[in-house]
């Protein structure tokens, strides 16, 4: 793996946020809200011209407004954690995190690879650098034609990985 990668962090340098950038992002809800139940985590840190998520949310919990380059702002009280915003985001930057279970984090993520894992399957949980950091169990696989070939995979990992794990690798 690259040594370069390990040295740098920052949305505008490598695309991965520092802790400060992460918690200051208007699309990232509070940890308190995640503890209550599933909630969207919009990891959209740069002002790029896109507002697809705003239209996708059935509860009006995501606001982009004008100009279209505004960062999406999540209203964490309005968000029901329904996951519909996950497959619509062209940046694959929306996740749903649920910390309401003891010792367990449930992370829902967009998935566009084959094979698609099945419920109950054990997969590798990868961090933002693609490193295997834990084993994950697939607890839900959602698909509808509306998702247009993007699956929503929900995995269960130990709680301490809630903010690290953002990708999976199917072992098959």
């Amino acid at each position: 793996m690259s040594e370069t990668n390990k040295r740098v962090l920052g949305v505008n340098i490598i695309g991965i946020p520092t802790e400060e950038e992460y918690w200051n992002c208007p699309g990232v809800p509070s940890e308190k809200r995640m503890l209550k139940g599933p909630v969207a985590v919009i990891e959209c840190f740069q002002e790029i011209p896109c507002n697809v998520c705003e239209d996708a949310c059935p509860f009006g919990a995501i606001k982009v407004g004008h100009p279209i380059t505004n960062l999406p702002v999540l209203d964490e009280d309005k968000c029901k954690g329904c996951k519909l915003c996950i497959p619509i985001c062209p940046g694959l930057a929306i996740f749903v995190v649920d910390l309401s279970r003891e010792g367990e984090a449930r992370i829902s993520l967009p998935y566009e690879f084959l094979p698609v894992p099945s419920v109950g399957e054990e997969v590798d949980a990868l961090d933002r650098w693609g490193r295997v950091v834990a084993k994950a169990k697939v607890v839900q696989v959602l698909y509808s034609e509306k998702f247009d070939k993007t699956y929503i995979i929900t995995i269960s990992v130990p709680k301490k990985y809630a903010f690290f794990v953002r990708s999976i690798k199917v072992r098959r």
Partner: protein, 373 residues
């Protein structure tokens, strides 16, 4: 003037199709699109990812589906599409009737006439030269994308990507989807060129990005077998001893694009050099008309930008033609164009757009200056 088209549109990418839809929607019965490819849609047909933007530009939809949508709309509106037809000449025409030399696979060389021309010829990939770059297995990232997504041929199994702009990042993701192993992305700048979200999604799949690195050479007997990269210092000087060697059979170049201005040159349009837009681009006004009356431009030929921008510029050019042909009254046209410019200004805002917005307004200013003299 039986055989004169009202509008001839050169190029059937997002800009050309959007322009054709606009003129046809306003009642133009004689619009034609000329395209050298086997199918219309330009680069949209190899874009398998969901697009950014807003619903006005079909955002959230995969590129090839946007292509199909635009193509069907144009066809339903009665736009004629001549495929495998290259435009080989734009001749000294007057304002009302312009002569276009074309070569088509079935009818050979001939002339067609049109009252207005919209040039939407897009852009092409840049390359960089390095020892070994002529070996088979070194190709543009866009070429690799065409092979994969249109012809279903995986051009390599182990890939090194040069350039971390959005094209490099997106094609890397698609190579992974197609089953290739991407050993890394090399970026000369000390930061990623494209959007963070595109970088994040390939990083978390385990593809490293080597910042402040460049390619030293490609090694291979008959085709690429190895790639050597090395670090560069602040003055872009390679640092000896920092070489890394990868076993690869494909090196993709994603090092920017350059507008296809051959036809705007041939038409006699005036150009300006703007680095932020990819190089020499034709001057144009707010209606996308160039310094040659009756010749319009739209999309990447007028500056390398996004699909969303290309669609909006195509609409502008289409509306202007409809206005010039008397199909829409000026007041309506002005209002419509203002709405589109408002959307364009928004699309060109933020850290990735402001420099392009400035560049575009410079083009408008320069156009005014030239037209006064």
């Amino acid at each position: 003037m039986k055989d004169v088209y009202d509008v001839a549109i050169i190029g059937s990418g997002p800009a050309g199709l959007a322009a054709a839809i606009e003129v046809a929607k306003h009642g133009c019965k004689k619009a034609v699109i000329l395209d050298e490819n086997f199918r219309p849609g330009g680069q949209l047909f190899k874009q398998i990812h969901k697009f950014f933007g807003s619903k006005e530009q079909y955002a959230g939809i995969r590129g090839f589906v946007i292509g199909e949508t635009l193509m069907n709309e144009a066809k339903d509106l009665g736009v004629e599409i001549l495929l495998r037809t290259s435009v080989i000449g734009l001749f000294n025409s007057n304002y009302d009737v312009k002569t276009i030399g074309i070569y088509s696979h079935d009818k050979g060389v001939r002339e067609i006439k049109a009252k207005r021309i919209i040039i939407a010829t897009g852009a092409r990939e840049n390359v960089i030269a390095f020892p070994g770059w002529t070996l088979p297995g070194v190709m543009g990232a866009g070429a690799a994308q065409t092979l994969m997504n249109i012809y279903r041929v995986l051009p390599g199994e182990r890939v090194l990507m040069i350039g971390s702009g959005n094209v490099g990042l997106i094609v890397t993701y698609q190579l992974l989807q197609a089953g290739a192993k991407v050993v890394g992305i090399v970026e000369a700048m000390p930061k990623v060129g494209g959007w963070g979200v595109h970088a994040a999604k390939i990083l978390r799949m385990g593809v490293p990005i080597f910042l402040s690195h460049t390619i030293k050479e490609a090694i291979g007997k008959e085709y690429v077998e190895k790639a050597v990269i090395w670090e560069i210092d602040r003055n872009w000087k390679p640092i000896k001893g920092t070489e890394k060697v990868f076993e690869v059979d494909l090196i993709c170049l994603a090092v920017g694009m350059i507008p296809n201005i051959e036809l705007t040159r041939m038409a006699g349009c005036e150009h300006i050099y703007i680095k932020a837009l990819g190089g020499w681009v034709p001057l144009h006004n707010m209606g996308m008309e160039t310094t040659v009356k009756g010749v319009y431009v739209a999309g990447d030929v007028a500056g390398v930008e996004e699909n969303s921008v290309a669609i909006e510029e195509g609409r502008l050019a289409g509306i202007s033609c409809a206005e010039a042909l008397g199909l829409i009254d000026s007041k309506e046209a002005v209002e419509y164009k203002e709405t589109i410019w408002k959307r364009l200004d928004e699309l060109r805002s933020g850290p990735f757009g402001e420099h392009r917005k400035k560049a575009k307004y410079l083009i408008l200013q320069e156009y005014e200056k030239r037209m006064k003299t």
